[in-house]
Amino acid sequence: MDRRTAISRVALILGATVIGGDLFISGCKNEHSVAGQTVLNESQINYLNEVAETILPKTAASGGAKEANVGAFMKTMVRDCYSAEEQVIFFSGLEELEESCRKMNGKGFLESSAAERKKLLISLDAVVKEDKKKNDLLKQKEAERQKTAQAGGKPNYLKKNPPASYYAMIRQLSLLGYFTSEIGYKSMGYVPVPGRYDGNVTSHI
């Protein structure tokens, strides 16, 4: 993997910053989130599989997020790669999501119809997009700060990204978990050992 690939791979993994990528900066963390929970249980995994399936449902072309068991992937990532601060946001987010659903649909997420689930997630996504705009501005300022610090000869690699919102986390983990699963890779026509390179073919596999 050279730099070019690495850069594109980083982008591939996320499209933006990988949540959980900031811990090394924030230093020592207390091991427990506010709710004390750091590992998703089975019912939460099932719940998240349903949320992810709404974002990336089974279609004629390929299986969906539930089949790819994106919920189990979220368990691994939140447990191993999320900072304590992010874990708090994530776990309290599970409750917030359920509350938002009750507010909008008058019932919980699992009780909601496919259309109701979709309507809820579209509204949450709009909020995330607004937040992202604000965060992008902050990140830009942080990037400038780092550059100035470096130019001033001061070792400084701190990337204090603002914490993501819980729905940004769920959405990101759903996409990452799905498209890096076997089902996801195959939906994109992944060939494990291509054997050759052709930079101009007229049909996508």
């Binding site: 993997m1 050279d2 730099r3 070019r4 690939t5 850069i7 594109s8 791979r9 982008a11 993994i13 996320l14 499209g15 959980g20 990528g21 811990l23 090394f24 709404t54 974002i55 449902p57 279609t59 072309a61 390929s62 969906g64 691994t76 191993d80 790669c81 900072s83 979709k118 579209i122 996504d125 990037a143 780092q146 550059k147 470096q150 001061k154 070792p155 690699y157 959405r171 996409l175 990452l176 978990g177 498209f179 890096t180 996801g184 939906s187 994109m188 060939v191 494990p192 050992v193 291509p194 054997g195 050759r196 390179y197 052709d198 930079g199 101009n200 073919v201 007229t202 049909s203 996508h204």
Partner: protein, 559 residues
């Protein structure tokens, strides 16, 4: 004593150390190769190389624990689940930063040869003559004609793919067929050629990946997973290439977990007699003896070994009599470039995953071009279609969204600049008087930075990239410059430079330490300038050349 005696000792097992071992054993010399880290066997130890991408527990992400323990590696793009075991444990082996310095280390057999970017280019006389012509620093003691046959020699063995482009400033070599460019890159190349009257060239990246099988090695399978260790031996590494050749001679002994703490020096004979090592696992000290020593511990660690040697004769170490040991550290500055989208290719797709991209060789301060800075820069880049991680307007939930993401998105093209850094005496590394590593050994302190010439060059790197993309019809062009800490280019060099005069250089024209002629330094430490061209192929050629010289001198009884 006798069992600890060899004809030659090679310190380090990376790109240049592997070459030294291959050449010396091939000439019949009983050789001991010392590696400070673990053994890392070809194929057998590539635990992820055949794993499917979805079988990685974190799908490439690193854990909190890894982020905490490997802060330097997490500054850049190289922290990936598949290779974290290959990076140096930063808690055991710290270093100090007077100024920001990113040091990418791999303490294991093969060093960074399994992890390198594989871009392989010859330097030209524009590079070797630059210092002399400008009166900058000191002159290189060699010219292109001295190294050219050795480029031939190493290219044939290593297997470099590329096209003959006929550029005097980026000489052609002995190439396997190139990895082809994709349709967008080919079109952009011809548009640039026309726009710049054949003065700028977008060419196939020349890369140490096999496009045809060579004895003992299978050709590249276009998986683009080199770093995980290639079970096909599809790219050049110590493990795939030089080590098996050296082992086949029956003359090589490899000793992992061997931290060389100093070169043993006989001040009466003015020669090295061997090395002292610390066993990294047992903390036991051992001595090994040999007629010649090749120091290939990587630019900074080779300087470290010299700084710790013969301190009873020279307080700053073997090779310090010139006052240049540890000074003149260089790198290639990057982390900047431009990218954009290109229209009209929606019906064109890519099959396979290349281990390379395109290259745009230097064009500044050449053939009449004149800038407000000296020297130049090149670009590495590529065109590709967007992946699933893109945003899709108006779609964010549902089957249509998912199916759209599974299909390749729009075409983009981007390039990253790599600029020459001049040798400045004040850019230096020293031993930190206060801190020690896990083994109680002194650690390095880095004090180096970019200066005016590099800063001016950076402005041109982004603006020229944007201008070229615009000339090629690329839309939505954006430039970026994330700043560059020294070392981040992973092309650190210059800490024990070659020269014509022992008063101003550490090594002579054959890479011999002036103060101990049976010690050869042929890794990046030996470089007198940095050019803007990737240096590894030059280290290979210099190493093979120095081994040939050393062997002949031994035969003549001169060493």
């Amino acid at each position: 004593m006798a069992e600890n005696t060899y004809d030659a000792i090679v310190i380090g097992s990376g790109i240049s150390g592997g070459w030294a071992a291959k050449e010396l054993t091939g000439k019949g010399l009983k050789t001991l190769m010392l590696e400070r880290g673990r053994n890392y066997e070809h194929i057998k130890d590539y635990k992820y190389g055949t794993r499917q991408p979805w079988e990685f527990e974190h799908r490439g992400s690193t854990t909190k624990e890894q982020q905490k323990n490997y802060p330097v590696i997490h500054r850049g793009w190289a922290a990936n689940e598949a290779v974290m075991d290959c990076w140096t444990n930063e808690q055991d082996s710290p270093y100090s930063e007077v100024k920001p310095f990113t040091w990418w280390r791999s303490y294991q057999l093969g060093g960074r040869s399994t992890l390198w970017g594989r871009q392989s280019y010859r330097w030209s006389d524009f590079d070797f003559e630059a210092n002399a012509k400008e009166g900058w620093a000191i002159d290189w003691p060699i010219r292109y004609q001295d190294i050219s046959p050795w480029y031939d020699y190493v290219e044939k063995f290593a297997g470099i793919s590329g096209a003959k482009d006929g550029l005097a400033h980026l000489p052609d070599g002995h190439f396997l067929p190139p990895v082809s460019m994709n349709i967008v890159e080919k079109d952009v190349a011809s548009r640039l050629k026309k726009h710049y009257n054949n003065q700028r060239h977008l060419i196939n990246g020349r890369v140490a990946n096999l496009t045809e099988a060579i004895p003992g090695r299978t050709r590249c399978q276009f998986r683009d997973r080199c770093w995980e260790g290639c079970p096909f031996g599809g790219y050049f590494s110590t493990q795939s290439s030089t080590l098996p050749a050296a082992m086949d001679t029956g003359n090589l002994t490899v000793r992992p977990w061997s931290i060389v703490t100093r070169i043993l020096y006989d001040k009466d004979k003015k020669k090295a007699t061997g090395v002292e090592i610390l066993d990294a696992e047992t903390n036991q000290t051992y001595q090994y003896h040999a007629k010649i020593i090749f120091l290939n511990a990587s630019s900074l660690n080779s300087a470290w070994v010299l700084m710790n040697s013969a301190t009873d004769v020279w307080k700053d170490g073997l090779g310090s009599s010139s006052g240049e040991l540890g000074h003149n550290i260089m790198d290639h500055h990057y982390n900047l470039g431009a990218s954009g989208s290109i229209e009209g290719y929606d019906d064109h797709f890519i099959y396979g995953r290349r281990p390379t991209g395109f290259y745009i060789p230097r064009f500044t301060n050449l053939y009449g071009d004149k800038r407000e800075f000296t020297r130049g820069f090149g670009y590495q880049g590529g065109a590709s279609r967007d992946s699933w991680s893109r945003e899709i307007a108006e779609l964010n939930v549902g089957g249509e969204f998912k199916d759209a993401l599974a299909h390749p998105g729009s075409w983009n093209i981007g390039m990253t600049g790599f600029g020459e850094i001049l040798p400045y005496h004040e850019n230096k590394i020293t031993l930190d008087p206060h801190r020690k590593d896990k083994w109680g050994l002194p650690i390095l302190s880095m004090d180096a930075e970019l200066k005016d010439n590099e800063k001016k060059m950076r402005t041109a790197i982004t603006s020229e990239a944007a201008e070229m993309l615009e000339a090629a019809g690329v839309k939505n062009i954006r430039t970026w410059d994330s700043g560059h800490a020294m070392g981040h280019g992973i092309h650190e060099m210059g800490t024990a430079r070659m020269g014509n005069d022992p008063k101003t250089s550490v090594l002579n024209q054959h890479n011999q330490v002036w103060d101990a002629l049976n010690v050869f330094v042929t890794d990046g430490a030996c470089m007198t300038s940095s050019a803007c061209v990737n240096p590894s192929l030059t280290y290979m050629a210099l190493t093979a050349r120095a081994c040939d010289f050393a062997f002949n001198e031994l035969k003549k009884g001169n060493l």
